[in-house]
Symmetry: C3
């Protein structure tokens, strides 16, 4: 045998020989109840993890695709407000607040991708024009004495205020008739009187009865799957009359704003009074190995901003409607709008059987099985009674220095 | 030898010995054509998978970065509409529709991040003021008999309607001169007559000739790579005259709306009539191991909402322009705007050679090679002719009970 | 022994035997300084990589969660502009530019999710009405000769222009008094004179003093962790007076626009003049194994669009305020608005100790250790002095043909 090896065969022969050989590990097969059982238990745990968790629970036999989605929303509802007789009014002139409100009045801006804002409370300052007027005395550093001209420095901006000082000190008339002196400013006049109509009730607290139709199409392009949240089985009369309810009608795409806020655990009027941010999550997680009809949207609702905030709570912003009055002077109606920002967040992963991920999971599982052997080897060779015996069986000791021994072929 | 081992060397000596030892598996080298070939074939398949799929096809030798992107858009185009002579008109007063339309008329809101909306069809209700007027008879439950006062309950909102019932029943005059009785409501008056000018043609169906310039900068910060979709090689005159075309000019950042809709396979007028949502995808997948000039954007277009929907098809919303009339009364022009919502979606992953992911892929590949041995072992030890012989060669049987045998060193 | 094996035990016995057996690899234990040291070094490198990089540096012992976030913004600031005395004016009538600007004038649209736009420069065209007027001569192909009627073809749109040709050729009066002939168009008249007030300074270049309050709530729902960027330890007076500064006050949620632009390395006036897109990134990467109070936001700022662009630089769009004049004619004020688009991008990953990912990392690490053995095997069996000796020790050669040998049990 050794003489055959020492004769020099050609490269081709070597290659063919190599291709027809098979190397497999020499295994030491130990019959021992303790270590045998331990080994099988560890192996079982690993196989259980691979099959139970990685393959079945985590669906390791599926390839997946992320959802592509389109969302459009349409709010409906109309309110007639007349706050003149409300208790605890903080303002004297309620005229701007006694009016009708429809969707193009309270949805700002009228169109947003994947979101909509509903104004629920506001401070209205009608008929502002550019000019000079006294600054709001609630702003810091604007009180002045008409006899001390240096109190109001011309050209100086009022920090967090409404304009730029003209240099004069003029009387400011509160809505209740009293008067104080503040710096005159270049601004949109008269300046906003930053006071909500009441300190308990949102002007549009009835907006909890508004409804929103959410149209959502979810697409899994890899699986050529596309579906709407308006089920094809519904008809026009259903769509006109239905209302989403987590228990009674989970597939109606029409939501009452009050129901959404209830589902987040918030109080509608409190949220409407100071504003906030609400997430409407639509989840399309689907197992496309099953009936595709079972792939339906699941809605969840959560408040995104912090309701327990001590500072700078809620959400508001200012906007204006601009026009010219009968004399051609630029005029605007300023709104400080408090309201609820609804964000529609569509998530989802679809899975479908695929050979490649299944193989990858089995492969990496088999690699993990070596952990069982490694763990048991330590016990067998160092811990167990009779470990020296097993160690000797497992290890074949080979001394170095063979290179010094010309006859090493006979060494064994 | 055994006596040396039994003498107690120090910990340092043991450590040094440990560091200078090398453990390798004892291999059973089987010369058998069948199993040898099978083994090599399985190994080849695994290596082929690792090199061909995981490393080359999936670019396992690259580290990757996701694109950071900025998108701004600018629509251009102007239409003069005169629908008076259109066939199949459904309305009698066409005055509000005979006018010029430019970008600040039909893009609502004027600025949106990563999206723009083009109004393509609309119902205009000019000169609405807050007051009392009869509700639209097309709304459910508003027909009434003036002799039956209970038909209209004061203060009750009209569901899906335009206002709140005043309690009166008044005549509603259709545009064609006929009359019916409906509940009077507090609302913006007169209420919208919810009827498109025609039932076939979008008012702005010529908007297919509008163009949009999309300015997109893609950045891969990990690789210090940044590029615009407006190629640096282009000049002003090119940019003024060019038009994107998938075959002729793939790098022009100016798109005709009609071309975009064509690329999605939709009919422009049908889409413009009822509205829809279109995705403009810009993909920047790049292999930065190659010439960075080859990293160019690829545009694709798709309709995101469901065009075959039976219910609640298309996309529309209402918005108003607010002003005061000559008497200082709040007035508005209400638009029910149908149109196309374009969403610009930028995706991309760049890869560049990196040693770490290459090593990780090779490592996990080597681990997979054990599958070949495992599979062949089963065949060799249980299936193949002569399997008992090979099994005996592979396994070294060790009986337990050595611990009962003080002389186990001689046991073998 | 062999006779016992050949007697046929029941399946139950076989199963029990199988469960109580343990297979471990036969190891060839080589005492050789060179290869031993090499082996340990490679093992050390792999273990170092696993523990140091995958487990400690990449936090392989933690399960992670991605941030869910809510962002609202509020810009503050007011400017009084009077550009009449500015040098290098390019326009003659500065009236529309001498005015007060507050937040509802320069933030367009007033509300956007995760973004806000601040107008910093503009071209104002007041009092446009729908009618006929000469086209802007700066547009291509609109110059004409009144004696050549074919120059202006009725009904033809002006490409990139403001309207549709009426067929007439009429004189256009430049603001400086000179005159030229251009095609008359149906348009909003008079057409915009597309010229910035100056070619160096943005009209609202003082907007660098504007401030923005960013309210951001970050939530890691898996870990029931939620925190605002307005720290609970701050109070109202702090919040009114503080200003973000990377060195002095990293936790103030109020930012001066000029500071943001400075942090990106841009020049404020240059950016304000032609517009641009700025990213405000808020990163909430947190190690929740440590004190949760240490989980604080980190702000970074970057310009997203390409400032070195030769073509189509900056960001602008057109919007209008619509109203009726005293005669009831539809009128609008057109703004070409240049400005800075701020995008608030919230990122973050939180980690917390978890047993499962730790085990997975250790498992895949052990699998990598086989690389050390594989590498050394090549050296031992093919490269090293005395390799034939080691190879012989490692490999047990088994000849095929055993199946031809009925007495193969004695073959060895």
């Amino acid at each position: 045998m050794s003489s055959q090896e020492e004769s020099g065969p050609g490269v081709g022969t070597l290659l063919i020989n190599w291709a027809l050989e098979y190397d497999t590990q020499k295994i030491v097969h130990i019959k021992n109840k303790t270590i045998g059982l331990l080994n099988r238990l560890i192996q079982l745990a690993i196989i259980g993890y691979i099959i139970g968790y990685a393959i079945i629970y985590k669906k390791g036999y599926q390839s997946t695709d992320d959802v592509i989605s389109s969302v459009t929303t349409k709010v409906k509802g109309v309110i007639y407000t007349n706050i003149t007789d409300w208790p605890d009014l903080l303002i004297t002139d309620t005229t701007p607040y006694n009016r009708i409100w429809d969707v193009s009045d309270y949805v700002i801006p009228p169109q947003e991708s994947d979101a909509f804002f509903v104004m629920t409370n506001m401070i209205i300052t009608p008929d502002q024009q550019r000019g000079q007027c006294p600054e709001d005395p609630k702003i810091a550093n604007v009180a002045c004495d008409p006899k001390v001209p240096s109190d109001c420095k011309k050209g100086e901006r009022v920090i967090n205020g409404n304009g730029v000082r003209t240099g004069k000190c003029v009387p400011y008339h509160f809505p209740n008739g009293t008067t104080t002196d503040t710096c005159e400013i270049d601004a949109w006049c008269p300046v906003e009187y930053d006071m909500n109509p009441t300190n308990v009730t949102a002007v549009l607290n009835e907006s909890e009865r508004f409804t929103v139709l959410i149209k959502n199409t979810a697409t899994y392009s890899k699986f050529h799957f596309s579906k709407r949240n308006i089920l094809e089985s519904s008809n026009t009369s259903y769509l006109k009359g239905c209302m989403y309810n987590n228990h009674l009608d989970r597939f109606c795409p029409i939501f009452k704003l009050g129901d959404i806020i209830d589902a987040t655990g918030e109080d509608y009027n409190a949220l409407a009074y100071s504003g906030g941010v609400i997430a409407i999550s639509i989840n399309w997680d689907c197992n496309l190995d099953y009936n595709w009809d079972d792939c339906t949207p699941v809605y969840t609702f959560a408040r995104l901003d912090n309701k327990n905030a001590k500072l700078a709570k809620g959400y508001n912003f200012r906007f204006s409607n601009f026009y010219q009055d009968a004399n051609g002077t630029d005029t605007r109606t300023l709104f400080k709008a408090y309201g609820i920002m609804f964000k529609v967040i569509v998530t989802g992963t679809a899975g479908k059987f695929d050979f490649v991920p299944l193989m990858l999971n089995i492969g990496s599982g088999l690699a993990l099985l070596t952990i069982a052997t490694s763990a048991c080897d330590i016990i067998v060779c160092y811990v167990m009674k009779g470990h020296a015996y097993y160690k000797k069986k497992k290890y074949l000791n080979v001394q170095s220095g063979a290179d010094n021994d010309p006859d090493y072929e006979n060494f064994s």
